[in-house]
């Protein structure tokens, strides 16, 4: 098919290999989280976790313009970003199982999952906590002239934190190479954006920092890719920060203790009907990038990868109790 103006951005811009890899990551996120949820239910994982099932397009398409030298900061709902930025599910599961083989050697768990070697500076247990950190990473890039760009993920709820305001203002005043990606899934825990946020679209707040702001359908892979690619290009050209708002939805509850009393089953179902993975699959098929059997193969491989990951994690090593104060400082002190 000709890559004309009606062709979605992602199809026009990226080669087939990149697009197939993107689909693979979206499946990986989905199956990883299903696997994590299942392991949690079986009591293999403790604590809590925040699943991003339904938001996979946002994570993967946003990371598409990035190299391993580029950075991201992530959130409590960070598994998707982590996989989007290239992490291995085996080491992620190992982390969730509290094993030494985990990305954080079992010290961090779901809420602190990170893969610094791939530029993922980490999930964050503090809503909005990663926003200034992302700006700091962008400051390093500008100061040392590395050319790297940082993507800062955060939720609609986080946009009401003071950290959001302070960090976006600093990024704008200092013209730093950072892209703020707001994943607006309509709720911060149980509180809808209507009840918590005094603007309709969070992207409107970009004007308060004289930066471009755009709201896109966050379940439309190509729409996200286009908006974020443009913002990343702009950042790389030294023109400063942008804000991209991806409208999306989490199918699961906020965390493992959510009774979903603040939203209706109808609402949830309407969003499940807008599955970003299926939609991307269909788009790839429609534009001749990947046929059904090719997509099935990717799906199946992702499933296997997740199963292997769980097996790997189960076989991991438990930390030694005596090491409870290891890693507090660079060298252990008594």
């Amino acid at each position: 098919m000709a890559k004309d103006d009606n062709t979605p951005f992602a199809i026009r811009r990226y080669d087939a290999e990149t697009l197939r890899e993107a689909l693979r990551k979206m499946y990986l996120i989905r199956f990883f989280e299903e696997g994590a949820e299942d392991s949690y239910t079986r009591g293999l994982i403790h604590g809590t976790m925040h699943l991003s099932i339904g938001q996979e397009a946002s994570a993967v398409a946003s990371c598409l313009p990035l190299t391993d030298d580029d950075k991201i900061t992530s959130t409590h709902r960070g598994h998707g970003h982590c996989i989007g930025k290239g992490a291995e599910v085996g080491r992620m599961f190992a982390e969730f199982f509290g094993k030494e083989e985990g990305y954080c050697h079992g010290r961090g768990g779901s809420m602190h999952i990170a893969d610094v070697t791939k530029g993922n500076l980490g999930a964050n247990g503090i809503v909005g906590g990663g926003i200034p950190i992302a700006v700091g990473a962008a400051l390093t890039a500008k100061q040392l002239g590395t050319g790297a760009v940082t993507i800062c993920f955060f939720g609609d709820g986080a946009n009401n934190e003071g950290a959001f305001h302070e960090a976006l203002n600093i990024a704008a005043v200092w013209k730093l190479p950072v892209v703020f990606v707001c994943e607006n899934n309509k709720y911060g825990m149980s509180t809808s954006t209507e009840r918590s946020t005094a603007v309709k679209d969070i992207a409107q707040r970009a004007a308060a920092y004289s930066m471009p702001g755009v709201t896109v359908d966050g379940n439309d892979f190509s729409a996200v890719a286009e908006a974020v690619q443009e913002a990343v290009d702009r950042a790389r050209r030294g023109e400063g920060p942008s804000l991209v708002e991806n409208l999306t939805y989490r199918w699961r509850g906020h965390s493992k203790s959510d009774r979903n009393r603040y939203r209706t089953k109808d609402e949830i179902d309407s969003w499940i009907a807008r599955d970003p993975i299926l939609r991307f699959r269909e788009e790839l098929a429609a534009h001749g990038v990947l046929d059904a059997s090719g997509a099935d193969a990717i799906e199946a491989a992702a499933r296997r990868e997740v199963e292997d990951g769980i097996a790997f994690a189960k076989g991991g090593t438990d930390p030694t109790i005596a090491d409870v104060t290891k890693y507090v400082y660079a060298e252990a002190r008594s």
Binding site: R107, H112, G129, A158, G188, M189, R195, D318, T325
Partner: protein, 339 residues
């Protein structure tokens, strides 16, 4: 746990710690229109730990106010509301998030009366779910009672039983000054006898939960229960431990602790916060400069959280704070003068 002496005329029921707190808040909302609750997801969600529960249904969303995720702003709004006539109870979803609001709590709420030379009052209660044991790792498991205990102008409480959870919250609400109440997350489901009706547990009074002759343990929050468990074991060995529930970090009840140490000559402080500069440091120092010093037969021991953030791995997490066997071992050593 030994039941405190109780007036047989007062009706009690079995309630959980969370239910007792909810009951106190419900009574306060019903009695005084100036009382409002503020916090994240305390309405229809019922609170992250289901402490506010159904209160929004009973009192409506203006009295039980879901705030945006804005801890500094939210706490500051509560300060301004308290200063002008409301009596807010502000819930931090986790006490860790109070790190975002220290400015308003410490620079504003705690100091307003003083800075204004007594011309203002900030009757405000901050509720703070605290502590580890839930697998939520370093940013959701901290114990900051020592920080707030260091701040003149605040009162700081750590109830360990459902009865005290209700009684101290009502006392905090009646108090004309800001009060920080730490609620240990692992206690929310603990059941216990809770008196009916409106009653207050006095702020600044520790409780002797178990009498003993050989050794004093001062513990707070969940550590009270672990200390009592350790004491039962030690009793089998003939070691008779007195367990004091601190209850109030600011002010600290010097009298009760000094009296106990004068009797036993031995003291262990058990607390979940990080050991260094934690509340045990203050209790130890207070004894070491008091008249009880001359009665000490052994060094004062402290069992506190290890010098590390709370780790995610469950076994490491347990190892990061004192457990009953740790208390037992330390007490045995001290009683046998092996220290």
């Amino acid at each position: 746990m030994n039941a405190p002496t109780r007036n047989p005329e007062i009706q009690t029921r079995e309630l959980s710690y969370a239910e007792a707190i909810r009951e106190a808040m419900g009574m306060a909302l019903a009695r005084d229109e100036r009382v409002i609750l503020m916090g994240e997801d305390i309405g229809v969600y019922g609170g992250a730990f289901q402490v506010t529960g159904d209160l929004v249904e009973r009192f409506g969303p203006d009295r039980v106010r879901d705030t945006p995720i804005s801890e500094l702003g939210g706490a500051g709004v509560a300060v301004g509301a308290a200063l002008t006539g409301l009596r807010p109870i502000f819930e931090f979803q986790f006490s860790d998030f109070a790190t975002l609001a220290m400015e308003q709590i410490v620079n504003q709420a705690a100091k307003m009366r003083y800075m204004l030379g007594g011309e203002a009052s900030v009757p405000l209660v901050f509720r703070m779910p605290a502590g580890s044991g839930t697998g939520a790792a370093a940013q959701h498991s901290q114990s900051f009672e020592a920080w707030f205990g260091h701040v003149p102008g605040l009162k700081v409480l750590q109830p360990s039983t459902p009865e005290d959870a209700k009684g101290l919250l009502l006392a905090a609400l009646e108090d004309p000054d800001p009060v920080v109440v730490f609620e240990h997350k692992l206690l929310y489901k603990l059941k216990g006898h809770v008196p009916d009706g409106w009653y207050t547990t006095p702020i600044g009074k520790a409780a002797v939960r178990r009498e003993g002759r050989d050794l004093t343990i001062v513990a707070s929050a969940i550590m009270v229960h672990r200390a009592l468990a350790a004491a039962e074991k030690l009793a089998e060995e003939g070691i008779d431990v007195e367990v004091i529930d601190l209850r109030s970090v600011r002010p600290i009840d010097h009298e009760t602790i000094i009296a106990s140490v004068r009797k036993t000559g031995r003291l262990i402080c058990v607390y979940e916060g990080v050991r260094t500069l934690g509340i045990g440091a203050e209790i130890s120092a207070m004894i070491a400069e008091s008249e009880a010093f001359d009665y000490l037969d052994a060094p004062i021991l402290r069992l506190g959280g290890v010098e590390a953030p709370i780790p995610y791995n469950p076994e490491l997490e347990k190892a990061a704070v004192p457990q009953a066997p740790d208390i037992e071992a330390a007490a045995r050593k001290l009683a046998r003068k092996e220290v």
